[in-house]
């Protein structure tokens, strides 16, 4: 078994275009203001938390592949660059980079624009838009921008898929197929997505952005955070409800091995009582510090899952906690949890085939 370290973090969120902005917003713990999002056919607009324009136009927008790309690609590239900053500061032409981009809804802006054009008259629908509608478009653009990506995958699923993405990156590292792996979760916003969320979780406020985690095997490249565990993917089915899956994930992570204030729980609880109930029930006995980014930022789908991991790693890297647990109870697929620890801490990994009593001091 290899040790897997976190080499960098990146974030674009309604709080701003850096991890620091995300951290400040979460520390202030005040709801970010929501903006209006026009809803065709309705007088009342949706409320959504939009990503603010960056203070300075990012230089990467001059790249030929990014000029026409949709907002989700801009978020992905910005988060990737921030998460890669440490490695990019130590250029290595031989470095093989893996890339996993996780999405739940993906490129909704260009998809809707293209389909609307198709409905009006397919003979005049823009050929420039169509390639940007595919799930793999942001992956392709960021791979072209970074240049040294050798292996890439786009994964689609509910937000817990972000930890599947981390797991895939770990697998590539352990098999020595890449030297570092960038895992990104991202979403963009438009009225149709807000409409769908309104139908499914009315109290939720939609938001967008991206979160990125760079993984590596080299402790020298670490930002002081190490991956300790990722649970199995506890899938939902007619026989395994979200509540049961969340509980199984919680049980697999086991009880905290640290003093009560040394470990942070970074959960996916938002402002939707019905959707949040299984996760709240699974962590009912948690008495330590707890961070719920969605309560402040909004429902960012896959991006929100990535922000949870970024916030957890950032809290450990900043020395505020020795460990941080991430709980991802996805909307319609699976529940997965993970634990990140300070790289110099004495906390060991959960053993393979873990049972709740398997945490070693």
């Amino acid at each position: 078994m290899s040790r897997i370290f976190v080499a960098g973090l990146g974030a674009v969120s309604p709080a701003g275009w850096k991890v620091a902005a995300l951290r400040e917003a979460l520390e202030q713990a005040e709801l970010l203001p929501a903006q209006s999002l026009e809803r065709p056919g309705w007088e009342d607009p949706f409320r959504a938390r939009l990503v603010p324009n960056p203070a300075v136009r990012p230089e990467f927008l001059a790249h030929p592949r990014l000029r026409r790309a949709s907002p989700i690609t801009h978020y992905v590239v910005a988060a990737a660059l921030e998460a890669m900053a440490g490695l990019l500061a130590k250029p290595d032409p031989k470095r093989r980079l893996g890339l996993v981009v996780c999405l739940q809804c993906g490129c909704v802006n260009y998809s809707c624009r293209f389909f609307e054009e198709t409905l009006k008259d397919p003979a005049t629908a823009s050929p420039l838009l169509f390639p940007e509608t595919v799930y793999a478009a942001p992956t392709s653009h960021v791979a072209a921008f970074l240049g040294n990506v050798s292996l890439a995958n786009s994964l689609v699923g509910d937000p817990a898929t972000f930890l599947q993405g981390i797991s895939l990156g770990v697998q590539w590292l352990e098999e020595n197929r890449v030297d570092a792996c960038l895992v990104i979760g991202a979403e963009e916003i438009n009225w149709i997505l807000a409409d769908a969320l309104w139908h499914l979780e009315r109290p939720a406020i939609l938001t967008a952005g991206a979160g990125a985690v760079t993984l590596c095997r080299d402790p020298e490249s670490s930002m002081g955070v190490e991956l300790a565990a990722i649970t199995d993917a506890h899938s939902y089915s007619t026989r395994n409800t979200r509540t049961q899956a969340a509980r199984a994930m919680r049980e697999q992570l086991g009880a905290p091995a640290l003093p009560v204030n040394a470990e942070l729980l970074c959960d996916g609880v938002g402002n939707s009582p019905r959707a949040d109930a299984p996760e709240l029930a699974a962590w009912r006995d948690w008495t330590g510090p707890r961070l719920s980014p969605k309560r402040i930022l909004g429902e960012g789908l896959m991006a929100a899952a990535a922000w949870q991991c970024v916030a957890a790693c950032n809290a450990v890297a900043g020395g505020r906690f020795t460990a941080a647990t991430v709980s991802l109870v996805g909307s319609n697929q699976q529940a997965i949890g993970a634990r990140f620890v300070r790289a110099d801490s004495s906390i060991s990994h959960l053993s393979p085939g873990n049972s709740p009593g398997n945490i070693r001091p």
């Binding site: 809707c112 609307e116 940007e132 786009s154 991956l227 089915s237 997965i336």
Partner: protein, 412 residues
Amino acid sequence: MLFPATIPSQAPRVVITGAGIITALGRGWKPNAEGFRAGRTAFRPVSLFDVSRQRAKLAAEVDLPVALPPTRLTAKQTARLDRAASLLLLSACEAWQQSGWEPTENLPLVLGTTAGGMSFGEAYFRQALQTPRRHRHQPTRAVHYQPQVQAQMVLDALGSTGPITIVSNACASGSNAIGHAWELIRYGQAERALAGGYDALCGMVFSGFDALQALSTTVCRPFDARRDGLALGEGAAVLALETLESARRRGAVILGELIGYGSAIDRHHLTQPHPQGETTLAVMKQACAIAGVTPGDIDYVNAHGTGTVLNDSSEAFAISQWAGPHAATLPVSSTKASIGHLLGAAGAVEAVICLMALREQWLPPELAFETPDPACHFPVVHQSQDARVKVALSNSFGFGGVNATVIFRRWA
């Protein structure tokens, strides 16, 4: 635990014990094998949506059965399956029955798709635009549009549960899904896995390829010097993968062995391959290295071969480079000439075609092929023929640049 995981000291051999396929040539192994062996084509005027304002008018539509086979899904669940999910379910049921597996609690399902439940997405968008205050069906559409929900329906139908992974690397998705499942088994995360790909024809995607002028307005002729584009199709294929040890323990019928997988990303352009097929060459080499074979060991290449000018010249260049002196005698064909480009299903369907060729010892021809592209230094199979096929290789490439190669060996 996904991490830390217990990694086997030696990766197990992985065999295929079930294969389900549905294309415009028919439902199941037999009609497809007969059709591909004969080089039949399945294109007809599009009836699923209006193409009167499109350049291309033909596609390879599947005739879905009036009723789906009985499964563990309730009538209500079955009613929520759209065209794509129905294709997926049909192929999964065939693979499941052939494998002889029993319902289980931890069966990974890895699927590739480009559009998932796009028909739900299209219907949702139309209704939201045209009658925004009408909400009937919208919540169901918003949920069942998502491919992971369609995948979960398949596991429910089979009475099983397990982790679901949806790979969406555009038209390489099917091959990547099979490759990913293969790696899960070799990595020790599972002893068995279901893997495949699916996509149904839909107006938006047809319109997209038509807008790009990528669709042929004549005949889909991969690797022909006069080719003028691809033809779209729809379908699904699912493979039951398991360790050789597991298959032997059960006394299962083995359809073939998956021995190699390569994947990499071509950063040249979002939709155009590198003109010399650099990444294609790399993934073919990578898959061969893992499989422990050389180009001289390969008896048939099922090419990505879309029929577009840029794809086929790039792939032909790469295959010719990779095969070197063996190219002159290496049979290559693209079965997209028969059933069209199945997008996220393509790699999985073509994997099953490779298994058919390995099991039944024939090569699938492109009957419309006449004049080879100058970049083809290999013979394109253009007549129905029996052949000795021990190892077959399949290529798949997607928008965004992901290239994938899988290699299968005959089990005899």
